[in-house]
């Protein structure tokens, strides 16, 4: 392995390949920060163009696009409350609050640095730990995925907000929306009203965009502020530097990276779950959990670090087994195949310099992201905030509209966007929290389908659900997460009279 790594280094840092990585990063930043456009789309367009190119040139672009795209999603999430990708929803919670408090540049820097650290650690895991991690991921079957979904849903407990029934309602709304669409195991069309567009359910990206992007548009028009943010607030000085506070952030980074890597190697769990779980964990162990959701930089750090750590890790099962851990990994797999690189253990034997080169490119693009992303985010994207706020309303709407349209090329989705946006506005004005809706929406279908698969496989025997060690561990973890807030409350009550 060391040999292969040493061999790969000069290839990776050949000028052409550095260029490829930078091109990929910039393209990734662009597709990531536009809601509705995802890295998957970017890669799908890119791959056919890489036929006949040097594999490492093509793979460098892919690595760059993956890392760039995952940070790109955080930019509009922080600056405009519009998550560029589903994985950046958890970033909105604290990131946008920081922007409102005039700390946009700081928030972006925290997000960037955390994302970079997450992806660096994830790349290191990819390089060093692929084989053992692969066998771990194979331990996950429907039973384990069911509990993983439950674990994700349990994190809702820390996102419910101050009004418990409203938090639960929000979660229920998400779960209900997630139930729309065809039931794959018997073809029953649930709540589709004969609409073909609903057969696969609502697309998550359309719902998330509606939920998060439309309410601020309405609010901006209502407030009708005719000035923009002053340029000062986009300069870093006096906002603090995340780099010099590394001691403060390190525990969050380590925990979030571990969470991101573990979720990343489990096929099908995906980036949004990593960022939410990392966010929840940061909040759960924090001394001041009540400051989360009100502009706590740790929230941004946890979410983005978890998201970044998901990236390279999701390639571990893809490279070693041919099982893509995410949509992006699936497309990258396709890209490897057209260059004749067949995933599986033999890949490491037959093309070690390319495999390790690709892994190194992940590492290299993570570092390059720190430069390219830093320049792009504050120097270019941040300046948008200097426009008068009222002018931003149509700008947000334009990008959201075209992004949502291009997900399915369907006008139907635009009306869904509007409908969800209006409901989202009402929910927001009535203090219903939005994060539980997202979790319900993303994880509900996973929990239901995996539970039913598990029961089908076990012949309807419910005891099978706790028949494996991992299932039991996950179930206990879920219970612990659910009980933490209750326990904390109890302790406070006991402490109060004394």
């Amino acid at each position: 392995m060391i040999d292969a790594l040493l061999h790969a280094i000069p290839l990776v840092f050949a000028p052409m390949n550095i260029l490829a990585m930078v091109i990929g990063l910039v393209a990734g930043l662009i597709v990531g920060c536009l809601p509705g456009l995802t890295v998957v789309t970017g890669l799908a367009v890119l791959i056919p163009l890489t036929f006949g190119l040097d594999p490492l040139f093509a793979l460098g672009m892919m690595a760059g696009m993956y890392n760039g795209g995952s940070y790109g999603g955080a930019i509009p999430a922080i600056l405009m409350r519009v998550p560029g990708t589903p994985a950046s929803v958890a970033t909105v919670l604290d990131g946008y609050k920081m922007t409102q408090q005039g700390k946009a540049a700081y928030a972006l820097q925290v997000a960037l640095l955390s994302g970079v650290i997450g992806s660096v650690l994830s790349s290191v895991a990819l390089i060093l730990l692929s084989p053992p991690l692969v066998s771990f991921s194979l331990l996950f079957g429907p039973i384990e995925y069911f509990w993983l979904g439950i674990l994700g849903l349990a994190t809702v407990s820390s996102l419910l907000g101050d009004d418990l029934p409203k938090g639960l309602i929000a979660c229920g709304i998400g779960l209900l929306i997630g139930a729309v669409g065809q039931d794959i195991s018997n073809g029953t069309e649930r709540f589709t009203f004969g609409q073909l567009d609903l057969l696969d359910g609502f697309s998550a990206i359309v719902l998330l965009t509606g939920l998060f992007a439309v309410p601020p548009v309405l609010q901006i028009v209502e407030e009708a502020v005719k000035t923009g943010m002053s340029g000062d607030k986009l300069k870093l000085h006096r906002q603090g530097s995340a780099l010099s506070q590394w001691r403060f952030f390190t525990p969050v980074w380590i925990r979030s990276s571990i969470i991101g890597i573990v979720i990343g190697i489990l096929p099908g769990a995906g980036g949004s779950m990593s960022s939410f779980l990392a966010y929840n964990e940061a909040r759960r162990v924090a001394r001041n959990p009540e400051t989360f959701g009100h502009g706590n930089p740790e929230g941004v750090a946890a979410s983005e670090c978890g998201n970044g750590a998901d990236n390279a890790a999701s390639l571990i099962p893809a490279l070693a087994l041919g099982i893509p851990g995410s949509g992006v990994a699936a497309v990258i797999l396709g890209g490897l195949l057209v260059h004749g690189l067949r995933p599986g253990p033999q890949l490491f034997r037959e093309h070690p310099d390319i495999v390790y080169g690709f892994m190194l490119q992940f590492l290299a693009t993570s570092f390059l992201l720190a430069i390219v992303g830093g320049l792009a985010a504050t120097r270019i994207f941040g300046q948008v905030l200097r426009l008068p706020r009222i002018v931003l309303a149509p700008v947000i709407l334009l990008f959201v509209t075209i992004g949502v349209y291009s997900v399915n090329n369907s006008l139907f989705d635009l009306w869904v966007l509007l409908g969800v946006g209006l409901v989202g506005y009402v929910l927001e004005r009535l203090d219903y929290p939005s994060a539980p809706i997202v979790l319900g929406l993303l994880l509900g279908p996973m929990v239901e389908s995996q539970l039913r698969l598990a029961l089908t496989i076990s012949g309807g025997n419910a005891a099978a659900l706790v028949s494996t060690p991992i299932a039991i561990v996950l179930a206990l973890l879920s219970a612990a997460i659910l009980l933490t807030p209750a326990w904390r409350l109890l302790r406070q009550r006991r402490g109060a009279p004394a």
Binding site: P165, R190, E222
Partner: protein, 167 residues
């Protein structure tokens, strides 16, 4: 810079959002019951999950509605107005509806330009040049990224034959 209007409207102090609270909670109950009714025709294994959730949201919705009614009886309805500024909210919602309808009818480009200029104007913003410039820059950027670089289609547009000639 120039005219900075005070954001918080004066009307806020008097109003309460409590009617909206109750209306929304009841609407939620109605939707949940509707969902249960619809799901009752599905096979059991498909119906169980949505019915369980809908039952939960129905109960919670009733809880919120009752709680708000009780609060009103005690003279402490949930404070705070529903809208920041109701007239402008109505304008904004109407603008969105018209915009989406127009995108469906005549495509993306013209309605987007119109929205960029007219929506700020409706809220009292009078720097037309800036609005128009921002609109044009955005539309051009979107066309460049989505249509030319990524080959994603935009809604059928009145101007698309023109664009095709420009390629």
């Amino acid at each position: 810079m120039e005219v900075t209007e005070e954001a918080a409207p004066a009307a806020r102090a008097g109003g309460s959002r409590s009617p909206v609270e109750i209306a929304f909670a009841l609407a939620l109950v109605a939707v949940s019951i509707g969902a249960i009714a619809i799901a009752s025709s599905y096979p059991v294994e498909s119906a169980a999950y949505p019915v369980a959730i809908a039952a939960g949201t129905a109960v919670l919705g009733l809880w919120i509605a009752l709680r708000e009614l009780l609060r009103r009886r005690h003279g402490v309805p949930t404070p705070g107005a529903f809208a920041h500024h109701a007239p402008r909210l109505v304008v904004a919602v109407a603008a969105l509806v018209v915009y989406f309808a127009a995108v469906g009818l005549i495509g993306f480009i013209l309605p987007s330009l119109a929205l960029c200029i007219l929506l700020p104007a409706a809220a009292g913003f009078r720097r037309w040049g800036l609005s128009a410039l921002v609109g044009i820059v955005c539309v051009v950027a979107i066309l460049l990224i989505f249509v030319y670089a990524l080959g994603r289609p935009i809604p059928d547009d009145l101007l698309s034959p023109l664009l095709a000639k420009l390629r």
